[in-house]
Structures are given as C-alpha cells and as structure tokens.
C-alpha cells in the first residue's frame, strides 16, 4: 500500500439500481420522500422520473474504496456534490459506475478521487474520500 502514486487507478465498480434498491434504502435510512418511489409524485414536482436518493448514490460510490482497503485502513473524510439526478427506470433500473484513483498523498492520509456516472453522465462532483491506511 505504501507504493501508491498520484493518478494511479485503484478500482472500478458497477451497481444496478432498481426501484427495489430505492425502497430498501428508504427503509434503511428513514428517507421516505415519495419522489424516490412514486412516478406520479416525481412527475407532479417536475422531475424527469423517480430519482435515487443522493445519499444512496453517495453511499454506494464509496464501497469500491472500502473493498479495496479490505480492512487495512479507515475513511476519515468523504464528501460529494450532487450535480445531476440519477433517474431510476421502473423496468430496467440504471447502472451506476464508479472508478477510483489516487488524488493526493498527504502525510498519513491518502485522498482518493471518485468518478461516479450513470447513463454516461457524471452524477457526483468533487467526490473525494480521505483514508488513513494502517502501516
């Protein structure tokens, strides 16, 4: 782990979100805003369709980093900007793709920059995870 270099690609991952994923996240998080599971409500407030919770996208996007660390370190900071909504089709769902690369090495903290996209568009901006790796 000590031979990391800035710009190095670490890991990629894909997750397919369906309406089931949204309902499950609603229950787990307590965020029952109906724009995340009801087409009629989403439409009535002018949205293109049912949206994934921003916090679900944020939550799943960090998982490849956790898997890569495999217990050898901890997340000390994680931040994102919600730049574009993730519309989840009622039939096929949508695939969210994550790639992670080393953004900076600052003493004992490594900054990992995530690229998170769906339908060929970036959905999270300035998505950065700072991890402390055990020596």
């Amino acid at each position: 782990m000590s031979d990391l270099t800035v710009g190095q690609e670490l890991i990629t991952g894909n997750v397919t979100l369906t309406r089931f994923s949204l309902v499950r996240y609603a229950g787990a998080s307590g965020d029952f805003n109906p724009i995340h599971y009801r087409d009629d409500v989403a439409k009535s407030v002018g949205l293109p369709g049912v949206l994934a919770h921003g916090m679900l996208t944020m939550g799943l996007a960090v998982q490849p980093v956790i898997d890569w660390m495999d217990g050898r370190g901890e997340v000390v900071e994680y931040g994102v900007r919600f730049t574009r909504p993730v519309v989840v089709d009622g039939n096929g769902g949508i695939t969210v793709s994550v790639s992670a690369k080393v953004g900076a090495i600052e003493d004992d903290v490594t900054r990992i920059d995530l690229t998170v996209s769906a339908a060929n568009q970036t959905v999270l901006g300035k998505s950065q995870v700072r991890v402390k790796l055990h020596q």
């Binding site: 787990a28 998080s29 679900l56 944020m58 939550g59 960090v62 956790i66 931040g79 919600f82």
Partner: protein
Amino acid sequence: MNPELEGRVFPPTTPYLVGREKVREFARAVFAKSPLNHDAEAAKAAGYADVVAPPTFAVVIQEAGLALLLAAPDTGIDFSRIVHGEQKFRYTRPIVAGDELTAILTVTSIKSLGGNDMITAETAISDAGGNHVVTATSVLVMRGTE
C-alpha cells in the same frame, strides 16, 4: 431564508442507539459487502467493539438534527423547494453498533446565489462519553420561486 439563522446552534438531539441489525440493514442498502459491516466476530477480530457502520450511516443521525432545523418556525425554509447540494463527513472514528450518539447542529452559513438560497449545516455527532465521532456537513439549496 432568514439570514439571522447563521450561527444558530440547535439543542442536542435525543440519543440514538446504533443497533447491530440496523447497521446490517443499512449496509445491505448501500451495497456494502465488507465483513466488518455484517459480521460481529470479524469486526471484533479487527479491533472494533461490534459491526462497523458504512461511512454514510451518519446521515441517519444527522437527519435528527436537520429535523430540528426544519421544524423551527422562523427559518423561512420551504422544504418542498429544498435540494441536497453537497454532503461531507469528517470522522474521528467509525460508528459501531452499540454507540449512543447525540447530534448538535449549527448553521454555519447562509448565502444567496443566483436567486437560490444556500444553507450550510454542520452536525457534530458525539458518543455517550461526549467524545467526537463524526461531523456531517450538508449544503441545502432552496430554489428560488422565479
């Protein structure tokens, strides 16, 4: 949005007891597969008191702080026009099952930008011993009415 909100500190939330099954449920919901999130024995072997919550679990406790903010009568916040703009977590240590967590929310900034109002809320989350666990920072955008 009421500019005098800036600097306001809300009272501590009711303590939230982190349950092992809640951590597992949340972990499944964010597609977390690490044994540390699911298997108490694996977590203990790695030096944790119990299963470890995924990094974004703190949002559940932050929510209790935000509920106090949104319920305050003088904020000028119209929840139906609120969009989550940014989110950040700064951890002193991971949340584990068994933690009893209390949140204190501070409004750190109110800004107007291009017809939208932006509010930054910083929620400091501490354990039963009063030690800092994580600070969750949310930027909420209230869209203008045009």
